[in-house]
């Protein structure tokens, strides 16, 4: 046994190497686990009107908790009795301070099969307004859609939509330079094959907003989520930009 006198790594070197590699392995596992993202999910459809608790990974809103009651500064015509039939200005962008999301709005129509178009996928995907329905601020259910994620580019513009809570504010800037301010009423999750069309798209007595993205379990074979997350919000005021 003459080999291990300095020419080859000593026992101690091997031990240090083992310890170092163990540390690397642990760090890699921590990175993999903490880096795994999961879109916040509201309560399932069976429990309508109830939001799930917000996951701890979601940072608290920098803005103070908004009051669910209409803002005292509400413009008189906007809150209660907007001109019913008139078509209001088109939306330009949407902003949700509670989840740190701001996006310009694309124009979306219907696909040939009658389903709603969704924005194109991409690294900086945008939200879109379904122009076959009311404009945000008009009486009726205005609809905005955005992706929760994409296979190539990770989280989408509406990734955190399910973390919105009743009372959170959604601002929609419009072409006439005004902002329609909506307050979240509830966040729901429904299976796509039992989409609550009448509840989400039916007539409303006042100006409403629907924000829609995907949620629930992912069907890998169909490359599609099984559920839609729907945020229901009501116009509470309008203001200049």
């Amino acid at each position: 046994m003459t080999e291990h006198t300095g020419r080859r790594p000593s026992t101690r070197t091997w031990t240090l190497l083992a310890v170092a590699l163990t540390v690397v392995a642990l760090v890699a596992v921590v990175v993999a686990v903490t880096g795994q993202r999961r879109a916040p999910q509201p309560a399932a459809a069976a429990d309508p009107g109830v939001t799930s608790s917000v996951p701890s990974s979601v940072a608290p809103s920098p803005s103070a908790a908004p009051s669910p009651s209409p803002a005292p500064t509400a413009a008189p015509p906007a809150a209660g009795s907007p001109a019913a039939a008139a078509r209001g200005p088109e939306p330009v962008s949407v902003s949700m301070p509670a989840i740190g999301v701001t996006s310009d709005l694309l124009r979306l129509g219907l696909n040939d099969d009658g389903t709603v178009e969704v924005p194109p996928l991409g690294p900086d995907d945008q939200a879109g307004w379904y122009e076959g329905g009311p404009a945000p601020g008009d009486v009726g259910p205005a609809v905005l859609l955005g992706h929760v994620d994409s296979a190539a580019d990770g989280p989408g513009v509406f990734f955190d939509l399910g973390a919105l809570e009743p009372g959170d504010v959604v601002d929609v800037a419009r072409a006439d330079g005004t902002v329609a301010v909506f307050t979240v009423d509830r966040v729901e999750r429904h299976p796509k094959d039992a989409f609550p069309t009448i509840e989400a798209y039916g007539n409303t007595p006042d100006a409403q907003l629907r924000l829609i993205t995907c949620g629930g379990d992912f069907d890998s074979s169909a490359r599609s989520y099984l559920d839609n997350v729907i945020v229901f919000a009501t116009l509470t005021s309008t203001r200049p930009v």
Binding site: D112, G132, H147, S150, K192, G202
Partner: protein, 258 residues
């Protein structure tokens, strides 16, 4: 000879293509949604909402209604061709004084059957009393959705504002079944309770100009699977290396001690 035929054939084909694509585009852009708020007739207590999206003559009909006699079939139709309105909820429209606003009496307002909203098979007025193919309201509520073709008459009625959604079947004596001495004005073998209108709503243009069908494809899944596969790979390699190095160190130490 062949050439003589070929040219007109090409010309006809070329002329036909734009026409084909145009009709498809028109039919699609013509999608319109209509909504009806269902109010009670014959003091049934039934309320609900109906929504119809017409794309050409293709109709997607959705109905949500509650307060119906549970476990009994409820005929439901699109009525057309009259005033496009509904009878009252009391007996003000009971012209013959038999205690029911019958279909005949109500038809003054909402007209005759244009479409039978069955759960399967034929949807024409022929199926107006096909009681085995209408929803049975197992828990007193109906949630109906079906897409099918309607006739030109029905399509025209929507545009003219004379299409009315009507649900039939009312347990007026509270017995829990269709019964009683008054027989139906439509079929003398059926009790009046089985065919009398229970809920009615005129279909008017919805705020949502064209309601999309079904849900939205707003996710293509990356965060749903396992992300950070590179980090996991590095971790696995490092762990294997650590085990190997540890084994060598252990054997060295054994050898040193020997």
């Amino acid at each position: 000879m062949r050439k003589a035929y070929a040219l007109p054939a090409v010309a006809i084909t070329a002329a036909a293509f734009p026409l084909l694509s145009m009709t498809a585009a028109l039919a699609h852009e013509g999608a319109h949604s209509y909504q009806a708020t269902l109010g009670s007739v014959n003091a049934s207590g039934v309320t609900g909402t109906g929504m119809v999206t017409l794309d050409g003559n293709t109709a997607t009909v959705m109905i949500e209604a509650t307060g119906l006699l549970a476990g009994s079939p409820h005929a439901q139709h699109l009525h057309i061709g009259a005033m496009g309105t509904c009878p009252t909820n009391d007996l003000a429209d009971d012209a013959d004084g038999d205690g029911f606003v019958s279909v005949t009496e109500a038809a003054t307002y909402y007209g005759s059957i244009g479409t039978s909203l069955t759960t399967s098979g034929d949807t024409s007025s022929e199926s107006g009393l096909a009681i085995d193919r209408f929803p049975t309201a197992d828990d007193g509520s109906i949630s109906y959705e079906r897409t099918f073709e309607v006739s030109d008459d029905v399509h025209d009625a929507f545009e003219a504002g004379t299409a009315v959604l009507v649900l039939h079947g009312v347990d007026e004596d509270g017995s829990g079944a269709y019964d009683g001495d008054v027989m139906s004005d439509l079929d003398p073998t059926l009790p009046m309770e089985a065919t009398a209108p229970a809920a009615c709503g005129a279909l008017t243009v919805a705020q949502m100009g064209a309601a999309p069908v079904g849900g939205a494809e707003t996710g293509a899944g990356s965060t749903a699977g396992t992300e950070n596969t590179a980090a996991i790979g590095v971790g696995a390699l490092a762990a294997a290396g650590a085990v190997a190095a540890g084994a060598v160190a252990y054997r060295r130490r054994q050898a040193d001690q020997a």
